[in-house]
């Protein structure tokens, strides 16, 4: 999995925006095509007998574009396809796209795990069973050319 995160090899460029596409470096097919996420099973992807934490997820708007907020990367995932008028249907789309985004490991917060997790945890969180463990061999980064002052 680490191979696909090769672009995260340095401190990211700073921006005032919170766009998931900017952070992860690419636009995904489920952002442009509603049918890609239509099969996502919300009940199976969440703990308990209802949709649990996804109850708080709804379709929002960022820069005038429909978007769902990804709390794991603190960013908006913009969606570029026509939205239904019904709010409940829009919210369901937002939940399915977000769950697919997380399950596929495309959230920037998940991508950072390989580099920055300080204790073992499943890379893909609770959304995918049998996910690889990240953070088992974390070592403090060393700044090249820097040494602690002698006291």
């Amino acid at each position: 999995m680490a191979d696909q995160f090769h672009h995260i090899d340095r401190e990211p460029e700073k921006t005032t925006g919170i766009d998931a596409e900017y952070l992860s470096g690419k636009r995904h097919d489920y952002q442009s095509d509603a049918s890609v996420s239509a099969h996502v099973d919300l009940l199976a992807g969440t703990p308990g007998d209802d949709i649990n934490w996804l109850e708080d997820i709804e379709m929002l708007e960022e820069d005038g574009i429909p978007a769902v907020f990804d709390r794991y990367s603190n960013s908006f995932l913009k969606l570029y396809f026509p939205m239904p008028d019904d709010k409940a249907e829009r919210d369901t789309i937002a939940r399915k796209v977000l769950l697919l985004h997380l399950q596929s490991g495309n959230s920037y917060g998940i991508q950072l795990k390989a580099l920055h997790c300080k204790y073992p945890q499943p890379t893909l969180g609770s959304w995918v069973s049998g996910s690889a463990v990240a953070g088992a061999d974390w070592k403090a980064p060393v700044l090249e050319g820097w040494a602690a002052k002698a006291h």
Binding site: P47, G48, N52, W53, D56, S126, G130
Partner: protein, 263 residues
């Protein structure tokens, strides 16, 4: 010495570190995908290391922890789906930061249980301390007894269900999510809340600043009936709904006289 239980049985490092030993104790009895271990002689760190090893590395999906001894910070940061049962009470900050597990606590919990919980379900069979569900972000927290003050302070999502009464300033600075209180609520309910909804089945001692009665909708009925059905809580009582009055949304624009009215 044998009479000591829980935290008092543990020898702590002289420098104040709770447990410098970072080795997984591997004390569980494992059968298939289920595991049971006795936490009586384990430190908080050892218990949490054992839990993570079982769930993350050994593929265990059902864990029972015996004799947790009301130790603090037990079961924090479990970030995977698994059923966890604690056969006893837990101390402060129980099950904080969890993201995915379904937890049953057969006892009481101390302050700040499920603090910053992201997702999953937690059912507490007994009472909860103050700050239950503080800064909770998602999932369901069910307390079958009473809870203390400031329940769901800074709550940003999820559902807190309390079958008995809650203390003062419940829902303080609540920003999102839902609270279903079946018993009475202490003074200052919903003080300075920004959003979300609080349902109260009993009497409310007093409302906090900018907390007002809300309009009941079919979605409220559906939510409460669904949660009661899922957790086998019987027939729900009648509830009053409380929401944010939003008078403080433009606090900086208020005239001094208006501030005196609002505050």
């Amino acid at each position: 010495m044998d009479a000591l239980v829980g935290e008092r049985r543990i020898s702590y490092d002289a420098r104040g570190l709770s447990e410098p030993n970072a080795d997984v104790p591997h004390v569980s009895e494992i059968a298939g995908t289920s595991a049971v271990f006795d936490a009586k002689d384990l430190t908080t760190r050892q218990i949490n290391l054992e839990l993570r090893s079982l769930i993350y590395e050994q593929g265990i999906t059902d864990v029972t922890v015996r004799n947790p001894g009301s130790k603090h910070s037990i079961g924090v940061a479990i970030l995977h789906r698994a059923n966890i049962t604690y056969e006893g009470s837990l101390g402060y900050f129980a099950c904080g930061l969890v993201d995915g597990p379904q937890i049953t606590i057969k006892g009481r919990v101390g302050w700040s249980s499920c603090e910053n919980m992201m997702s999953g379900t937690v059912v507490v069979e007994g009472n909860g301390g103050s700050l239950t569900g503080a800064a909770m972000r998602g999932g369901d927290l069910v307390v079958k007894g009473r809870v203390g003050a400031r329940t769901g302070i800074d709550q940003k999502g999820g559902t807190i269900i309390v079958l008995d009464s809650v203390g003062s300033t419940t829902g303080f600075m609540m920003q999102r999510g839902r609270q279903i209180i079946c018993g009475d609520a202490g003074p200052g309910l919903g003080d300075s809340m920004y959003d979300g909804a609080i349902y109260v089945g009993g009497k409310v001692k007093s409302l906090g600043v900018d907390c007002v009665p809300g309009e009941w909708t079919d979605a409220d009925t559906e939510l409460i009936e669904r949660k009661f059905r899922i957790y086998g809580l019987g027939t729900p009582p009648s509830f009053q709904k409380f929401v944010c009055g939003k008078l403080l949304y433009n606090y900086d624009n208020l005239e001094p006289s208006e501030r005196r009215i609002v505050l």
